[in-house]
């Protein structure tokens, strides 16, 4: 397994977590819990952004592994 595909896997996992956080943030009635979910969502979103940037560099370095 290449580094690129591993990063992609983690990226997918984080995106899934981001979605679930969004679901809970929308579903909860409690203001404090909502704030906690929103904050976590923003953090995870930024991490996703960083990983995507890194993935782009990886793919340009190893174009043969570029995924669809």
């Amino acid at each position: 397994m290449t580094v690129g595909s591993k990063v992609k896997q983690t990226l997918a996992e984080l995106k899934g977590a981001h979605g679930t956080l969004q679901m809970y943030s929308a579903g909860t009635r409690d203001g404090e819990a909502k704030a906690a979910f929103d904050k976590a969502m923003a953090e995870v979103g930024e991490i996703i952004g960083d990983l995507e940037d890194r993935l782009r560099i990886l793919e340009s370095q190893e174009p043969q592994y570029k995924g669809k």
């Binding site: 579903g27 909860t28 991490i47 890194r54």
Partner: protein, 286 residues
């Protein structure tokens, strides 16, 4: 008027009369009343019985007695609500029985309580060891309440310095196969949400005895058919696990990469994800 008819009419009138009086006098629990209120209630009960059974032949006299006791009781109750002095006069004051772990013998004899009785009352509160008691008090109702020494009190999340998610009361949204709209509205949900949730778990509405929804929008179901095993919602646990796994992944990427800039980025994000996971812990793992 014939005697039996007389008693029948009196009984009916007093039955509802006393019902009204007792309802007006409030919701005090009989076992938690100051002794004086017991006397008033007993007086009303006996007088009503005596009028109804025609022992007090003069109905007017009977009702005057009954009414004046009820009115006096209401007046005293009102005064007790408004003034602390009147309150103490009617209800009496609490008596300290144990102070700083030491039994106050004079106060004990003042409320006519023996040491054995005190121990029995403490045991009823699950306190078998006198050494555990910091403070105990006899309420005006005769009930004894206990404050334990601070190292003997039950452990709370506060003691463990652990944050816990706030919890609001759940609402019963399905009862006996029917969707209840009012509690659903209180949660900001509607009947369609319930139907979707039921479809997700694969349960028919008719099969649900009680369904409760919490403020996180999760639905707990109890079915008529107890043989059916419901899948437990593990979304929160899975989310927590996913976050932890991603954090571990990022750490291993940081170790593997040769690129200094990428290493720093992975490390920074692994740290961030760790804080996120820690902050979410009370909400995801209850």
């Amino acid at each position: 008027m014939q005697d039996w008819l007389n008693i029948l009419v009196r009984s009916f009138a007093l039955f509802f009369g006393v019902l009204v009086i007792v309802r007006i006098m409030g919701k005090r629990h009989p076992s938690r009343m100051a002794p004086f209120f017991h006397v008033v209630y007993t007086f009303i009960a006996i007088t009503a019985a005596l009028i109804a059974t025609n022992i007090i032949t003069n109905v007017v006299f009977g009702f005057i007695a009954l009414g004046s006791w009820a009115v006096l009781m209401l007046l005293i109750d009102y005064a007790a609500l408004k003034s602390k002095m009147a309150h103490d006069l009617v209800n009496g004051r609490e008596t300290v029985l144990i102070k700083q772990g030491k039994i106050m013998e004079e106060n004990l004899s003042q409320v006519r309580l023996t040491g054995e009785e005190l121990l029995r009352e403490l045991r009823a509160k699950n306190v078998f060891n006198l050494a555990d008691v910091e403070f105990a008090l006899m309420e005006t109702t005769g009930e004894i309440n206990v404050l334990l020494k601070s190292d003997k009190t039950p452990v709370t999340p506060h003691h463990l310095e652990r944050r816990v998610a706030p919890q609001s009361e759940p609402q019963t949204v399905i009862y006996d196969g029917n969707i209840l709209d009012e509690p659903l509205a209180a949660l900001g949900l509607n009947a369609r949400w319930v139907r979707t949730q039921l479809e997700k778990t694969g349960v028919a509405l008719e099969n649900v005895f009680i369904g409760q929804a919490n403020s996180d929008g999760e639905l707990y179901l109890d079915l008529f058919d107890d043989a059916v095993q419901l899948p437990q919602s593990k979304v929160k646990e899975l989310l927590y696990a996913a976050l932890e796994k991603s954090q571990a992944d990022l750490t291993s990427f940081a170790l593997e990469t040769q690129n200094g800039q990428a290493k720093a980025m992975y490390q920074r994000n692994a740290e961030r994800l760790k804080t996120v996971t820690e902050n979410l812990r009370p909400y995801l793992l209850r």
